[in-house]
Symmetry: C2
Subunit: 232 residues, 2 copies
């Protein structure tokens, strides 16, 4: 049946609305995967920035102690870098939550629906194959075919019709739930991402902390460093 369809032979059952929804989902998964890739890159580049700021803060601190003639200049630069490191770690926490959630949406939730879509597409192919076989038998001259052969074909067609229609319904429902879920998840994640990024890049530490609390994000207790100047 697959080869017949490729060659333009044999009739094919098409659900235009469903096919369009599936195409939209496939395209959306590609686009979200791209956003995920960029967000992960941002996370990793930003992580490098924070690590370098930490080392630079230490280098400035050392010079502040060694260079009385430039003590003030090195000190305030050291304090700024340390404050950025502290807030940077909070932002990294928010960005990690963003990428991990988009990853689940893209590679688990969407993927699960697309698995059902692939099962539906295979069932559609089988269904059309049995349908075309049955129709050919029904159109053939009486003497060349036995009634039992026609009945057998009809039974197989019915079986695959049930399977196909069940999967079509599954796909339809999953697409609907996926879309509702996606909108809810993305609404929350885009709000988090925006609030965290805005708070960080306007130096608003308390808004940044509040955003993480709001979204219930716990930071890993990797912060075993000396307390930074801002806490003293």
């Amino acid at each position: 049946q697959y080869i017949a369809e490729r060659l333009g032979k044999g009739s094919k059952t098409v659900d235009l609305e469903l096919e369009a929804q599936i195409e939209v989902l496939r395209d959306m998964q590609r686009k979200y995967a791209n956003i995920l890739r960029l967000a992960k890159n941002l996370n990793s580049h930003f992580c490098n920035v924070v690590q370098t700021q930490r080392a630079l803060g230490e280098a400035f601190s050392e010079q502040a102690q060694r260079s009385p003639e430039l003590q003030e200049e090195f000190s305030y630069n050291c304090e700024t870098q340390r404050a950025l490191v502290k807030n940077g770690e909070v932002l990294l926490g928010a960005m990690n939550f963003f990428t991990s959630t988009i990853n689940t949406l893209c590679n688990k939730t969407m993927e699960d629906t697309l698995l059902t879509v692939r099962q539906y597409e295979a069932a559609r192919l089988e269904y059309d194959a049995y349908r075309n076989e049955m129709e050919a038998l029904q159109l053939a001259p009486r003497e060349s075919t036995s009634a039992s052969k026609v009945d057998g074909s009809k039974r197989k067609f019915d079986e695959h019709k049930v399977k196909f229609e069940k999967l079509r319904a599954d796909v339809s429902i999953k697409l609907k739930f996926l879309d509702e879920n996606r909108v809810k998840v993305m609404h929350k994640q885009l709000l988090l991402f925006h609030n965290a990024v805005s708070a960080y890049f306007t130096g608003n530490d308390s808004a940044l902390e509040a955003t993480l609390k709001q979204f219930n994000i716990k930071l890993k207790p990797a912060n075993t460093e000396k307390p930074s100047w801002i806490e003293q």
Copy 2:
């Protein structure tokens, strides 16, 4: 003479104050080279962040147009990323100026003084060698050495004494000027670095622009993009 000194033989002329100053300079060059390395790394990681923010802004913009259900969420994220890219390029300009000036200080200005130091150290070695030779000849029994040999040795010693003392004076003056220059340059650069970083990370675009004007930094006109939302 070098080998004799290594073996703890032969007397050595030592200018304790100058040696200490030279040691301080060598150590300082190492420390400043470390700050330069970190600042360059920061620059390059931050450049990656800005490039990723640009791509992410575009991806958000595309989704804002395609997803009516999440248009608002994608839009404000797109605008934030674009604003960060715009300010990020200004900060990169300031950081480039910082690294390029520290590079000159570390690898040209300090290096030039250290070249004179190495010439001085070589001259000191030669001077001590001729001095020890002459002293040995003067102490030797009269009959075993000729007066002309002593005179020749004395002449060579005098020549190298002049050369050595000239280089010692050169080093001393260069160290003094270098230190004045370093304090002036670093005072300016650390102020620029701090003001630019603070302005950027508090989202204060106008202070960031003002800092660049204050330090007379011209940005490369690489900004051939569409004007971002903030200018509209």
